[in-house]
Symmetry: C2
Subunit: 407 residues, 2 copies
């Protein structure tokens, strides 16, 4: 889309915004200082909800956020009364340091569940982080790095979007997450800032739309976390309004989708232990919901994920995963293709298997399966429903990482 231009530098592209990150061992602290921004967020739907999620939900009722405090290493979840006290302690720290009201401070945590926060260490790392607040690309990268847990690379995205009226605004975000990534936002934390002027209610609506086709369409292991948060702030530093007559600019929504999908794909690519990235595109489903069910089921199937790790173009596991997804399916007319940057080959066309032993289709399919990026394209020939989901292969290292994480 020519109205969206990807930029380097992460948060540094936004004016009136300072960020920082610091780390000591497994504990990291990221600060986002964005005074007097309108804000909204989407959260985990897990019934076990971390203290900072409850705390931040409450703060967001006002719709104004001036600072976000994020720590990695401890999720502050299943921590009872002490968990809330720790939130208050940390928010007090931020309020003092940055001179912002306590009720404009959001807080987020990621890490081990069910252990009390090591508040001394986190306060110490926080002080280090406060001292580094700045607006350079390096500061943004440090912020993206300090929220990592088992992530293997920091995840940033920034864009400039030309609105339908020709004006331009910017959107930038960071994210973390690689395990416990489930259909409804795994342990992911995402923070997005725009320099546009956007009322909190419109942020909320736009963010829900974007999250539904991005963060909610990635699966690493099907475990949904207790801490998931995607928080978006509009600091208005561009002075440009993107809502007029109650309607959000279409290009702005597209650009937000772009940022969310970009960040979500980076999470899927960095799935714990992953060696390959999987994209499942479903079209021709009875409706959009069916397409989502099918696409997610493919990238969630442990059997298919293992097959991708092993380089096996196993269409039987693909069609079986669609079959138990709950969507409508007629296996006799389905088309299944796989593709990478170089090839695009039908495994099954209109229900007929084309990739039997010793066929050229199977030879090409086996080459595709050796790629780092495997795309599965399904046409169900039943209707207009379309959806895309992203995931990764299931590997020895996923098991290793999670067998060893807390012990």
């Amino acid at each position: 889309m020519e109205f969206i231009k990807e930029l380097n530098g992460g948060f540094s592209v936004i004016e009136n915004l300072k960020v920082s990150g610091a780390r000591e061992g497994k504990y990291g602290v990221t600060i986002i200082y964005s005074p007097n921004s309108t804000a909204s967020a989407v959260f985990t739907s897990n019934k076990v909800v971390a203290a900072p999620v409850k705390y931040t939900k409450n703060v967001l009722k006002k719709g104004i956020i001036s600072a976000v405090f994020v720590n990695s290493g401890n999720a502050n979840c299943f921590t009872g009364e002490q968990g809330f006290k720790d939130c208050e302690t940390l928010v007090g720290l931020v309020s003092n340091e940055l001179d912002v009201p306590k009720d404009e401070i959001a807080i987020s945590s990621t890490g081990v569940i069910g252990r009390e926060m090591p508040i001394d260490i986190i306060s110490k790392v926080a002080n280090e982080s406060f001292s580094r607040l700045g607006n350079s690309p390096e500061d943004s990268l440090a912020a993206a790095k300090a929220i990592m847990t088992t992530d293997t690379f920091p995840k940033e995205c920034a864009v400039e979007v030309t609105l339908t009226n020709g004006e331009t605004v910017k959107i930038a975000g960071i994210t973390k997450g690689s395990g416990m990534i489930a259909p409804n936002m795994g342990t992911m934390l995402s923070f997005i800032v725009t320099d546009a002027v956007v009322p909190a209610d419109d942020i909320n609506k736009a963010l829900k739309k974007s999250a539904d086709i991005s963060f909610n369409m990635i699966v690493v292991d099907g475990d949904e976390s207790t801490n998931d948060t995607c928080l978006m702030m509009a600091n208005g530093s561009s002075g440009i309004e993107v809502v007029s007559d109650g309607k959000l600019d279409d290009n702005f929504q597209e650009a937000l989708n772009y940022v969310c999908i970009n960040l979500a794909k980076k999470m899927a690519r960095d799935g714990e232990g992953a060696t390959k990235f999987i994209e499942a595109n479903v079209c021709g489903a009875k409706n959009e919901n069916d397409a989502k069910l099918a696409a997610k089921s493919i990238i969630s199937s442990s059997l298919f994920k293992s097959a991708v790790f092993g380089g096996d173009p196993n269409w039987g596991r693909i069609v079986s995963a669609i079959g138990y997804s709950g969507c409508d399916l007629n296996p006799d007319i389905v088309t299944i293709a796989i593709a990478n940057e170089e090839y695009d080959v039908d495994l099954v066309k209109d229900g007929k298997i084309l990739a039997f032993e010793n066929t050229p289709n199977l030879e090409i399919a086996e080459k595709v399966m050796q790629s780092k990026n495997v795309v599965v394209n399904i046409d169900m020939h039943l209707g207009d429903g379309e959806a895309t989901a992203w995931g990764c292969d299931l590997t020895y290292d996923y098991v290793k990482i999670n067998a060893e994480y807390t012990t």
Copy 2:
């Protein structure tokens, strides 16, 4: 339960029943010859349904089965018209060999999906199997072995049950399954025969009840197969009726539950790559359905399964899995304990964590996690709902087996 006595010998405990098994490489054929038996079955709910499942559903409308033909190595699924022709060919073979009507022959397949049946090899192995039909414990074991795919041990169970009126009848069964085991019957095939007299409709009702608390409560990888079949036959050789005034004898239902749970647990224990067996008991749930959701979610969580492999008593992952299961939960009052044959220790009691670092509870918990059998006991303190689910750990070998299965 003193009215149920477990017996050795599998199918050999039932009179008027002959079974056999033969194998060549990855192809096996099991025959169950049980003339003129009333019968019913429960099948996969996957929308991609193998040809033999469709075929057998149709045959069962009559409610009489005289023989069952089962092959392993190829699932005869996603095989179009040819799949049905192959069913007919094999049923013709059985009809000729055993001189039973074609419409009393059930057929089942397990193995690779989406490849045509190697009908020549299977016919050859079938002939070998026919020549071995017998009623010894060795014949039953051969039948249990010939249906294995990635299973590592054959699975049989036989019981004698004393009915409420003092008479005794027997129930025996075999099963296979270790991958693609999902909440609603993974690639599992189970065949159960009783010498009681039971109308087909009553078999159907009893089998559904038993399957719901046994086969439908095990999860290995969450992938649901296209071929799942649990078929039960009553050959009436004892002459004893277990249904009177339209009501099935309670002890018979209990005994059928026992056989199904015994076979289901053997499947979970033999989950692909498994090194440990997990049992999750949930009590105090709001209702039975909530208890089932919670129990299944625990044994389905890739993160908890990996933790069990690593010997980590990770209550955070347990409570998180309950939290996203969809059941009602108040984390502040939940009790979580783990146990093995020797120990039983609270990790969390009434919402308070008891197994912090350097506590005796954590020391004991770590010992429990080293066992081959890990039992998780949850009390949600919300109601009377109870359920049990069974599974296994997630290991390097699960990935290895499934990365290499077809290539």
